[in-house]
Symmetry: C2
Subunit: 445 residues, 2 copies
Amino acid sequence: MGDRLVVIGGDAGGMAALSQVRKGSPECEIVVLERGHWTSYSACGIPYFVAGEVAEVERLVARTPQQFRDRDRVDVRMRHEATGIDLGARRVAVRDLERDRTYQLPFDQLLLGVGGRPIRPPLPGIDLPFVHGVQTLDDGIHLVRHAEEVRCRRVVVVGGGYIGIEIAEAFVQRGASVTLAERAPQVMSTLDPEMGQRVTAAMRRHGIDVRTDTEVVGFEDGRVVTADGVLEADLVMLGIGVAPNGELAGAAGIELGVRGAIRVDRRQQTSADGVWAAGDCCESVHLVSGQRVHVALGTVANKQARVAGINIGGGYATFPGVLGTAISRFCEVEVARTGLTEAEAAAAGFGAVPVTIESTTTAGYMPGAERLAVKVVAERGTGRLLGAQIVGGAGSAKRIDVCAVALTARMSVHEMVDLDLAYAPPFSGVWDPVLVAAREAIKAV
Amino acid sequence: MGDRLVVIGGDAGGMAALSQVRKGSPECEIVVLERGHWTSYSACGIPYFVAGEVAEVERLVARTPQQFRDRDRVDVRMRHEATGIDLGARRVAVRDLERDRTYQLPFDQLLLGVGGRPIRPPLPGIDLPFVHGVQTLDDGIHLVRHAEEVRCRRVVVVGGGYIGIEIAEAFVQRGASVTLAERAPQVMSTLDPEMGQRVTAAMRRHGIDVRTDTEVVGFEDGRVVTADGVLEADLVMLGIGVAPNGELAGAAGIELGVRGAIRVDRRQQTSADGVWAAGDCCESVHLVSGQRVHVALGTVANKQARVAGINIGGGYATFPGVLGTAISRFCEVEVARTGLTEAEAAAAGFGAVPVTIESTTTAGYMPGAERLAVKVVAERGTGRLLGAQIVGGAGSAKRIDVCAVALTARMSVHEMVDLDLAYAPPFSGVWDPVLVAAREAIKAV
């Protein structure tokens, strides 16, 4: 590789590449630009920091700037923001936010790990200070500080996706009264509705005021305005989704794709030679649908960055794609999905056969057996697994991984039924719930 | 199919075939011969009945004789033992144990689900009444009754495999003082020794007197004699393994294989036309080594019986084979394996590269994170996964299923590292421990 790699972004999309870059290219110069105060942290851990389950925010930091400097000999520049990329001159315009000065930084190779941001729909009052989105660790600290200042008792969460249900749980644990406004008929609209309904029901059991089919139309001080009336709020959390930070790349003439995410090839290279991207800012390919998608998840960011790092260091690696696997919990109810939902499979043109079964997490006779539901979606005729969803008690949801591996291997439900999965009474029924679902799907395809 | 199917054995190997047989062949006559008092029970649940976690033995019964009669129109003959098979005349010799009479029962097709039995090495005193093996529900009831009668305080468990550690835990929960005698240097000799060592250590932490490298040479009343001295015992449990009940088939001229298990083809048919076998009495093919093996597990029995039932009913199905996946727990320590251990892989002729990593069950910063170790064995050069072992705290061991699916799909560790497994802080680190192991294995192969 060339003499200098510049990395924009100090979290997973950038930093998870560094050890691979160093392995392939021990002598190159590496400069990291991070506009915030933290490197390499777990954004996914923020709800548990808000809840108080994780006491110190520093526990969410996997590696500090100094640790990167020491381990990988990296010039980490904190509070430095990249404001422009000149592909012709091969340099980045940088603003030093603390010293309020700008400078040009030449690069030979460039890695964009610029992440994403919580979607803020253009509604009246969206920029009021009591309306929070959480993406960076700085956001999380700001949120907790604000919540403590206003001694917040009434929280409105807008959007019932993963972030929404996790933040709702966090504020329940903080003793707040929580209302969740969801535009769709059920929360967790990344699941099929009848599976999302189980989560809606669980949230209501725990005292969350879940308002489904409820469109938020604006914010006033201390109030969230919906089509069906006004909700009082000391604090509002947006959980509508994450948009990729593609603007910097787009302005430089780098090709963008789905939802404005940076387009990359299978080696994580952008349309510009020697310019790479990884993480929440870039596109992925969906392994089942074959379509380009934007999936903003820490696991994907780490894997893409690893691949980018190998390639930047002169090696060869490809990132095969994603399944949209996701998992969460609301209090004692676990939720997971992978692959395509019934609706997504149909939209992608598959003849999709859905089967839902109910089973238990352990042998039914064991104390502590928890109920769970597994939905599998298989292709009509071939029986090829297209996706799966799980909602249930403790010990349910991580079983989704079995389906994720089966999807990657393009297995049919006929092949899945004979999978030699682990069985003992404290861990499963003699037919694991995933296999029960596969067995029933065989009858249906 | 012919007019009459005779099934020998009322547990999984036989009974799990019935609904498939009925589907393919609604009108045939089905006669089941069971020499014991129970049908279709969870033998794997017996340790939890012994421990008192499962209060009534009836809870271990999935389906009673009457339920089979009602659902599948089956003539279930309890306490009837098959004593001989005449392949030429196509009939079974039956002894009615209650009425002490014998009769001949003609068959058109025959399904052998005759199970296995605890291995009893030919040692002096092995037949003393205080020496127990547990395979059937009748055995389990007899064991608990005896333990209550003698108010057993001192238990010696011979053999530290799955049954051994589960029964040891059960008697700890009953308040007994437990000694475990294991011939090998570590318990769990189905794992590589350094993984078994973690289980040995856990058992000692819980007060089990684990005597490794200890050969039992005989039994006297109230004493177990070892090469290193005598152990006092009110009750002895054998946990040395399970032998297939192949004798009935062997005497009839049906081909036997590994360890005397009944040889079957991929449709579960024996060497005799129209005679089928499933479960602990028969062989399987190991999906990684390609070798014939004897694996006595409820999951395998159920799957083989399902395949046999489809074929008996005139359909077509094959059983692909096993991975030797197994899981257990000793108190809070979970243990699992799948595929080949390092030693088994070397013995099967593979260039086997072992890698062991330590990680946590959840994100490391979450309260309740438990430590776990994952060992993967990969093929040198190709990186093909050959096997995996996990030992760790609550939430560790069921992850072995990811490796079981990857083995079935013949994945390499290079393919595994990009698997889109589920991540959220309560469920996993951002790199699932299995992926951490795969990532390290890539460096080693």
